[in-house]
């Protein structure tokens, strides 16, 4: 391999895809094959909830294989365009095709699809390149089954977290989900929430104002979901009940965090009495337990306006870089972030993700010194 130039970093959000639902057949219980042959996976993976997407079918136009089929489905192309084009220490696979399993009405089918996806990801992606690590999809309809899946797939060293969507039936601090957090504590794995599923399937509607008409509006509803989950986790005492729990919000945005925390902290001073188990300012829980990925980074002009936000939100601790490859709103590792002090940039690009996903620094022959 040739020496790679450029900054060493970890990409916290890569979407690798199947070519066909049949890719899962070796991993799925036999009972589901005829159903899938006739009706597909019954998951809306692009244009979720009936919305459009951006770019070319939701993807970078240059990310489609030569056969024009599915962007993100060819390992060699993903390797060429992402892993070998940049100096990537690790890439975290977030999949896409089965991420909405928790929007399905059928709990057992959802759990079976999640498990099949996880096995497929391990065999065809994680075990193919030691830069790739993955998040195990879990189905929330039956938290005990989700916990079983965390214990099963989480045994593989390439599984570095459990993955759910931002859209949900109710917020993630509630006791319904306890078996999941018990399993995560036991396996020492983080809870990873990727945007998506807002308003889809059995989930609640995507905004308190109902369903917006257009995709651009739908994108703005993501932060509302993230904020609902964060408030739930804090005020349900989730981090008091599971003190080692770590959480990441992937692609949910970041610049709203300071104002949200200011609101929580000031309201807590007045309303503390109603949830007296919350005994420190809400922002303390966030800084201790929750992380955020960078993409899609806002682009104010001039971009240095982001620096105050980075400071207020303690980006040197809370922010982790992600490209979202091969989606159309890909963030360049070189050009998406504002100019930052070197130490803060290294935290965001590399060290925060190493710590969060418990990944050792790699001694790469082809890596420039980090």
């Amino acid at each position: 391999m040739t020496a790679k130039q450029g900054e060493l970093f970890i990409d916290c959000d890569i979407h690798q895809r199947i070519k066909s639902p049949k890719d899962f057949y070796p991993y799925l219980p036999r009972v589901y094959r005829e159903d899938i042959d006739q009706f597909g996976l019954r998951l809306t993976t692009t244009g979720g909830g009936g919305y459009l997407n951006g770019g070319a079918g939701g993807y970078r136009a240059d990310s489609y294989p030569d056969d024009g089929t599915i962007a993100g489905s060819e390992f060699d192309l993903l390797k060429e365009q992402l892993l070998d084009s940049y100096n990537i220490e690790y890439g975290i696979l977030g999949g896409q095709d089965v991420s909405p399993v928790s929007t399905l009405p059928d709990a057992d089918y959802a759990a079976a699809v999640a498990a099949a996806y996880n096995d497929w990801m391990i065999e065809h992606w994680i075990e193919r390149d030691d830069r790739l690590k993955g998040l195990a999809v879990i189905a929330l309809q039956n938290p005990k089954k989700a916990a079983d899946e965390i214990r099963r797939s989480g045994k593989h060293p390439g599984i570095v977290g459990a993955l759910v969507q931002n859209g949900a039936r109710f917020p993630y601090g509630q006791r319904y989900y306890d078996p999941i957090f018990e399993a995560l504590a036991e396996m020492n794995l983080p809870f990873c929430i990727h945007i998506g599923g807002e308003g889809s399937g059995v989930n609640g509607q995507p905004t308190p104002a109902g369903y917006p008409s257009y995709y651009i509006e739908n994108r703005q509803s993501r932060a509302m979901g993230c904020q609902a989950h964060i408030a739930s986790m804090i005020f349900e005492g989730l981090f008091d009940r599971y003190p080692n729990l770590q959480v990441v919000f992937i692609e949910g945005g970041f610049i709203w965090l300071p104002t949200f925390l200011w609101r929580l902290d000031s309201d807590w001073k007045a309303l503390r009495n109603q949830t007296p188990w919350v005994q420190k300012p809400p922002s303390d829980y966030v800084f201790d337990h929750i992380r955020f990925t960078s993409q899609p980074m806002e682009q104010p002009e001039p971009q240095r306006r982001l620096l105050s936000v980075f400071e207020w939100a303690k980006a040197e601790k809370t922010l982790m870089f992600a490209t979202d490859y091969p989606h159309w709103d890909f963030d360049s590792p070189e050009l998406s972030l504002p100019a930052l002090p070197d130490a803060m940039r290294k935290r965001i690009m590399l060290e925060n993700a190493r710590e969060f996903f418990k990944l050792p620094a790699r001694q790469l022959a082809d890596a420039v010194a980090d």
């Binding site: 006791r175 349900e236 005492g237 009495n273 007296p276 188990w277």
Partner: protein
């Protein structure tokens, strides 16, 4: 520092679990009888200046673990009438951040009635605590 001694009330007129508001140099001060002990607080919330001592005197919910709470410190907490910040009357310390957010307190004593109030024509009785006066001690502001 010079201190003003402000008579608030006779002890017998100031029963447990009641309060008196007095104004000293334009500043409202709340004097509280909490279970027989007297305390005084500046009636100005450190948050946004609300008349703190006009708030409700309550207990508060305490907890040692999520989803469990009990009512405690009944009658010992003043809750700001505007945003509901809670303060311990005896110390002026806020509940949410007792070390950094507090309201000004003043010393309160119970003192014998002043002599000039005595009338030789009235029969004398031993002085009892009930005849005493509740006095709040307010430092004179440097101007």
């Amino acid at each position: 520092m010079d201190t003003r001694h402000v008579v608030v009330a006779r002890v017998r007129d100031f029963p447990a679990n009641t309060r008196r508001l007095v104004e000293v140099d334009g500043q409202e001060i709340g004097v509280f009888n909490v279970k027989g002990e007297y305390y005084a607080l500046r009636s100005s919330c450190p948050h946004q200046g609300a008349p703190l001592c006009r708030g409700r005197v309550l207990g508060t919910n305490v907890s040692t673990k999520p989803y469990q709470m009990e009512y405690a410190h009944e009658g010992e907490i003043i809750k700001c009438p505007w945003h509901g910040w809670e303060f311990e009357i005896s110390s002026g310390r806020s509940i949410f951040n007792p070390h950094k957010v507090r309201v000004r307190t003043y010393d309160v004593t119970v003192e014998p009635p002043e002599e000039e109030e005595e009338d030789p024509s009235i029969p004398m009785y031993p002085v009892t605590i009930e005849a005493g006066q509740v006095v709040v001690h307010v430092p004179v502001q440097q101007r």
